[in-house]
Symmetry: C2
């Protein structure tokens, strides 16, 4: 809903994926999903080509500049053909957002994974650094997923699950910390027990109580605030060395965990 088409409902649906693929499984061979079929292959190829070009455009001109017609042109397609694959520009955007969350989460996981499991401090530092690095490397994707939401666009439930992936990496470190018998400093208890919602708790083990989850979310928000300010240019003429500044904040965060 970026440049806002004529009028429409205003509240974006933007939910449905590629309709054909999703509506298909009723027919064909239920033996297995054995036979891909040349048509479906073509469909998948086209879909991912659209996404590839969309991502390229996103990186170049940002979310607002993304144009279905331009994508069609680059594929030697007529604009209406693209609508066979994505029902609207919004749907494409939704898909890009979802992918963005995944990539972001994957990047953070990848950075944190190789660190020795019981070196919680190093794990946190690695994850935090990856959080910033990815944002700086993919500013437009970052803006898409953590910047201002498209007006009238209410994130479908899919996105809110995907959104927490990067944050969960931090949470798991806290979890392991707790499992290792670590005692969090008393200061963190300003966060009430009921602040973190059940949904998030289900994705974590029972080791952490809501207060500690809330502490984790607070720290996460803190880091994301710094990253957003930096990538959105708010630190211009304010902070000379954002990298060092960020590392200092990370160090401060560690003390909040008692590390």
């Amino acid at each position: 809903m970026y440049p806002e088409p004529p009028a429409k409902t205003g509240a974006a649906h933007a939910a449905s994926e590629t309709p054909g693929t999703a509506a298909a499984p009723a027919s064909a061979a239920p033996t297995a999903d054995a036979a891909p079929g040349p048509r479906q292959l073509h469909r998948e190829a086209t879909t991912s080509e659209i996404l590839r070009l969309a991502r390229a455009q996103l990186a170049e001109v940002g979310p607002a500049g993304l144009s279905l017609r331009k994508i069609a042109r680059e594929m030697d397609l007529v604009s209406s053909a693209v609508y066979r694959y994505f029902p609207s520009r919004d749907a494409l955007l939704t898909r890009l957002i979802l992918d963005g969350y995944s990539e972001y989460g994957a990047a953070v996981e990848l950075a944190e994974a190789p660190v020795s499991r019981d070196d919680h401090r190093a794990r946190f530092e690695a994850a935090a650094a990856a959080l910033r690095d990815w944002a700086l490397a993919n500013p437009n994707s970052y803006a898409l997923i953590y910047g201002s939401p498209v007006p009238g666009y209410h994130a479908p439930q899919d996105t809110i699950a995907a959104a927490s992936r990067a944050g969960l990496v931090l949470m798991r470190i806290l979890e392991d910390l707790r499992a290792a018998g670590h005692a969090f400093p008393a200061g963190g208890e300003v966060f009430a027990q009921g602040d973190a919602v059940a949904h998030l708790r289900d994705r974590l083990g029972p080791t952490l109580d809501a207060g500690h989850i809330a502490l984790g979310i607070d720290v996460w928000s803190h880091l994301m605030g710094l990253i957003s300010f930096e990538t959105f240019g708010q630190f211009t003429n304010m902070i000379t060395d954002p990298g060092r500044f960020y590392r200092a904040a990370v160090a401060e965060s560690l003390t909040r965990f008692g590390l």
Copy 2:
């Protein structure tokens, strides 16, 4: 540069204000700026009417939905006429951004002002609460000024000065704190002396050293991160009571100042 016009340079200029007003002072009466002149009056009236409608539209459909043509229609003007007052949509947006920063800063100042000067704790709490309240009351303006920047849009120097206004309220509290002989806890010293840049230091007295300014910026970023997450919907299914959560974070911030 939202829906990106044809091609143009890509890098937004977006600097110039209402050109007539700025280019005028060579002629007329340099005795004083005494005589407003009926024509100039009309110009100012029209300009502010445009801004009024633009703000209304912004609040309703967000930055991306802002349409010069629609504004013109609502004023019973033809679209090209609006260009007599703002050279481009970008210029209008720039103006709205500037105004947004001002309003935001004013709101925070207004909330902090009535608090007894030597109750630094209450002053901080009032300012922090205003920070969040304004954002929640004006989500689209907030998104405009603190959300993802318009792609290709490089903030003119004017904006970066205006941007710090709300943050400065917090800084002044630290300043007063320091002036009152308050000793900041040792932990804050993870922030290196050189992090805060000269520009910001000039707008504050010499009482605060760069390390404490950096601490202030960090806390400010933290709060803004929380506010952004909340207004941009990132806390959905994550935090049950964002208000209480925010207040807890504010309390934690106070301890960082030794309050």
